[in-house]
C-alpha cells in the first residue's frame, strides 16, 4: 500500500526515504523523484497549485496501485503539495523502493507520468509584477509519454 499525502506544507524527502528503508534489509534500490518549481525567465512570484479534493487522492491511489501491480515495489510514497509554491521550492515527491533498480526506476517513472496527466491538479502563475498570469498549459509531450507504458 502506497503512502499518499496532499498537503500545503513542504516535505522532507530524506525523512520519507528513511521511513521506507528503516529496519529493513530487503531493499536494494530506492528511486526518489522531486519536482521543483522552475522559473528560468525570473518573472514568477509563485505557482498556485489547485486540486480536486477527494478525486486527487483517489486518482493517485489508483495510479500507485497500478504501479504496485506492475512492478515489485517494497515501498511507494507520493506527496503532492497544493497552494502557493515559490521558485526553487518542492512541488511533488515520489519514492519507489524495491529489491532491484529496474522495478524502482520504472515504478517512480510510471507514477510521475500518470500523475502529470491524470491526477486533478492545475498550476496558475503569479508574477513578480503583481499580476496573475496564465494557467500552465498541459503539454502534448506529457500525454504522449503515457504511450510508453
Amino acid at each position: 500500500m502506497a503512502k499518499i499525502i496532499i498537503q500545503t506544507e513542504d516535505f522532507d524527502a530524506a525523512a520519507e526515504a528513511a521511513q521506507i528503508t528503516q529496519n529493513r534489509h530487503d531493499i536494494g534500490a530506492l528511486v526518489s523523484f522531486v519536482g521543483l518549481c522552475r522559473d528560468e525567465s525570473q518573472t514568477l512570484s509563485a505557482l498556485e497549485l489547485e486540486h480536486y479534493p477527494g478525486m486527487a487522492e483517489q486518482e493517485i491511489a489508483r495510479i500507485a496501485g497500478e504501479a504496485e501491480a506492475r512492478w515489485k515495489t517494497k515501498g511507494l510514497t507520493i506527496i503532492h503539495r497544493v497552494g502557493k509554491i515559490k521558485p526553487g521550492e518542492q512541488i511533488v515527491l515520489v519514492i519507489a523502493a524495491s529489491s532491484h533498480r529496474g522495478d524502482a526506476f520504472n515504478a517512480a517513472d510510471y507514477v510521475m507520468d500518470f500523475l502529470k496527466s491524470r491526477a486533478p491538479f492545475w498550476k496558475k502563475q503569479h508574477l513578480l509584477d503583481g499580476t496573475s498570469g496564465a494557467w500552465v498549459d498541459a503539454k502534448d509531450t506529457d500525454e504522449a509519454s503515457l504511450s510508453r507504458w
Binding site: H51, Q58, E59, H80, M112, L115, K116, S117, K124, V136
Partner: protein, 85 residues
C-alpha cells in the same frame, strides 16, 4: 435529476464560481449533452466551454469521457487538462 456540478482552474474562473447544484432536464443523458446544455446557459458558461472537446470531465470523482452516461451521477466535474506533478 438533481446533480452537483464542480468546476476547477480556468473553467471555474470563467464560470465565476466553483460549484452549483442544478436540476437537469431528462433529455440530458451524456457528459457531451450536459456540456452543450451548460454552454447555452449564459456567456460565462459559453466562454468556459467554448472548446468543449478540450474540457475534461469526472463523474463522482472518476475520469469520464464525453460519451459517458450521467445516469445516477451525484457530482460531475469539469476542468482543463491537468498540469500537476
Amino acid at each position: 435529476m438533481s446533480v452537483k456540478l464542480v468546476y476547477f482552474a480556468w473553467v471555474r474562473e470563467r464560470i465565476g464560481f466553483g460549484d452549483e447544484t442544478i436540476d437537469l432536464p431528462p433529455e440530458i443523458t451524456t457528459v457531451a449533452d450536459l456540456l452543450s446544455w451548460l454552454a447555452r446557459r449564459g456567456e460565462n458558461y459559453a466562454y468556459a466551454f467554448e472548446k468543449a472537446a478540450f474540457i475534461r470531465a469526472a463523474i463522482d470523482k472518476k475520469h469520464a469521457p464525453h460519451t459517458t452516461l450521467i445516469t445516477g451521477a451525484r457530482e460531475i466535474a469539469f476542468f482543463p487538462p491537468m498540469t500537476g506533478g
